[in-house]
């Protein structure tokens, strides 16, 4: 067998994937292939040493660890996944099912899950070192940033003389579809405004303006011109509603 036939097997040999006695005997006789194997082995070791380059800070490790621990302290079905049904939960589900007649429950669950997903996105953005991808308080900078990234567009309100400040925006995915997440601030509270296409059944938000609270966050959602808007924040319901009004007015203008 000539050297060309062996060349395809040298990587697997160096990577310890295939002990090959035939190749080993060839290497004993062929200085060219032996040199090639040695060189690849050296390169592998050098790459290994050079790639060991970045270490996480202890603060970052603690942050993630405490997030995992938090899921134990307050197990939250909506935030950390739906727990397996136990007998007790199954009993509860049965009672609720009887109460809301099947379909209603399904919608409710889909809606709860959608809210939980938006809540997750809001919390994750705030926990991130880079909560937004486009940083600007100017709506004329933030809105065009989404051009070409989203298959739709939307209007943002003029916030002059209001207690709200625009912080920026980022792309997000809701139920596998792209959307915009805009971050606003009022006093010390951050508000996420999500804008995505209002697909039939997505999130089961229902018609009109719906508001509610989940895990002490306030959520307000409405549909306009084929788009679904949702505001999520730890600010008061009135603050959330007032921003909603500004956005709805901008949407109509």
């Amino acid at each position: 067998m000539s050297c060309e036939n062996w060349s395809g097997k040298l990587d697997a040999y160096v990577d310890g994937q295939s002990p090959d006695t035939e190749l080993e005997s060839h290497l004993r006789e062929c200085p060219k292939c032996a040199r090639e194997v040695l060189s690849r082995w050296q390169m592998k070791r050098a790459t290994q040493a050079a790639a060991e380059r970045y270490a996480p800070s202890s603060e970052f490790r603690l942050r993630v660890q405490s997030q995992i621990a938090a899921s134990r302290a307050t197990p939250r079905k909506q935030l950390w996944g739906i727990p397996r049904l136990t007998w007790a939960a199954a009993g509860l589900v049965a009672v609720v099912l009887l109460f809301v007649l099947g379909i209603g429950w399904n919608r409710h669950a889909a809606h709860e899950q959608a809210l939980a997903e938006l809540l997750d996105l809001h919390v994750a953005a705030l926990a991130s070192a880079n909560p937004v991808d486009v940083i600007s308080t100017d709506r004329h900078t933030v809105k065009p940033w989404f051009q070409g990234k989203l298959p739709f567009t939307f209007n943002l309100p003029d916030l002059q003389n209001t207690p709200y400040t625009l912080l920026g925006g980022r792309m997000m995915y809701f139920e596998h579809n792209p959307g915009a997440q805009l971050l606003y601030q009022t006093r010390n509270h951050k508000l996420s405004v999500f804008v995505f296409q209002d697909r039939a059944g997505a999130g089961d938000f229902g018609l009109g303006i719906s508001s509610g609270s989940q895990m002490a966050f306030h959520v307000e959602s409405w549909s306009e011109g084929g788009l679904r808007f949702a505001i999520v924040s730890d600010a008061g319901a009135a603050d959330v509603h007032a921003l909603g009004e500004l956005l709805r007015a901008a949407g109509r203008s």
Partner: protein, 178 residues
């Protein structure tokens, strides 16, 4: 309260399995994103996604490959990832004429920095496969599971990636000599 106890147990087990991989995943994330802040976001998102999906993880299967796979898929759908992949040519960099190690490399003593720069220049699809193999010392089968590609593709990507890496290193070394 059985469901609550189960969540607690799952979360504790997850922490026990996942935290030892933390530093390694962070290093890998930095190599993918080439940015520490983006890498922190990526690792954090990976851990939250993995914790959320942990009940779907089959005990006894490869947890490490599962975590790397979540991280890598999360990267590919992120802004940085989409940008990086769109910059990659479909066919990768041009194939060097020979599979052999260039003469200039055989005698050169390559310093860490030269290798790091060459790794950074490689397209993501080659960089990731080389890192999983050389740094993480994953078997070809494990790399296949992580990247969701057949072993044959792992081998061909490794081979092409290393050829490209050798070519980049040779260029740098020859450039430095001139």
């Amino acid at each position: 309260m059985e469901a609550v106890d189960r969540i607690r147990a799952d979360s504790a087990l997850f922490e026990e399995l996942a935290m030892p991989l933390f530093a390694r995943l962070y290093n890998f994330a930095c190599w993918l994103t080439k940015d520490r802040a983006a890498a922190e976001d990526l690792v954090q998102e990976t851990y939250m996604k993995a914790l959320k999906g942990f009940s779907g993880f089959k005990q006894g299967t490869n947890f490490r490959a599962w975590m790397y796979r979540i991280l890598r898929n999360t990267f590919l759908t992120s802004q940085t990832g989409l940008k990086a992949v769109s910059l990659d040519d479909d066919d990768g960099p041009p194939e060097p004429e020979t599979a052999e190690t260039p003469e200039s490399l055989l005698l050169a003593r390559m310093d860490r920095e030269t290798i790091q720069k060459a790794l950074e220049e490689l397209p993501v699809k080659f960089r990731e496969v080389i890192l999983l193999c050389d740094l993480e010392e994953m078997s070809y089968a494990e790399i296949g599971q992580t990247l969701d590609i057949p072993i044959g593709t792992v081998m061909s990507r490794l081979s092409r990636g290393r050829k490209a890496m050798r070519a980049l290193l040779a260029q740098r070394i020859e450039g430095a000599r001139r």
